[in-house]
Symmetry: C2
Subunit: 128 residues, 2 copies
């Protein structure tokens, strides 16, 4: 069982590296055979090559995108669920999208599976 | 695929019936062969007899317990994840516990699986 600190560190790096458009740091969060289903219902991307492709696709859609914690992170055993906002910027406008991620982790605290729950119809200007 | 309205209705009844200590209404939310893993990591309870047993155990621990939505409900296909607070009352004190539930649903919008993520060490007096 990975320890809580290792899981927290992985989630923190995952979010920061995604926001910083740092593919290598983001890939360092993943187990070699990890997969993502992002969003839930889309085909899963298995392994680092497919994950890098997903990362680059995600960042090609916007000028930038920040992942910001939204208040709740629950870690139980080798699993975590947490709330966040994706804040993509396109041109002059920043949008906000509520997301709940579910992750599982290996012994080293690397991500083995990720499922990202969100409803794209809830994307709205972030305001503020 | 169940429709969104059927899923929303089931979740609403699930939370209200749990809070009202109404086992029959709560069981009406479940598929015949549904199971719950509550909390995540505990043995799964399969089918209505085991679910009723779980319901009665849960209510035997406190004078009352309210489930209150905590702001985020995401439905994707036949799955839902949502945040809530459990608010158990013991004697003069009401406590609060953050929970994220993950549910899947059958064609009729009945719950086929439920996994409840929470960290019991975060239970704290609700205040206010």
């Amino acid at each position: 069982m990975p320890d809580r600190a290792a899981i927290d560190t992985t989630i923190d790096i995952y979010m920061a590296a995604f926001s910083d458009n740092d593919a290598d740091a983001w890939l360092s969060c993943w187990a070699i055979d990890g997969w993502t289903e992002d969003p839930v219902g889309s085909p899963r991307r298995h392994g680092h090559d497919a994950l890098r492709e997903f990362f680059e696709e995600s960042h090609s859609l916007t000028d930038s995108v920040e992942l910001r914690p939204a208040g709740l992170r629950i870690v139980v055993g080798d699993e975590a669920v947490f709330t966040m906002h994706a804040r993509p910027t396109m041109g002059d406008t920043t949008y906000k999208l509520d997301i709940i991620d579910h992750m599982t982790f290996d012994e080293a605290g690397k991500i083995t599976t990720l499922r990202a729950f969100f409803d794209p119809t809830t994307l709205a200007p972030a305001g503020g």
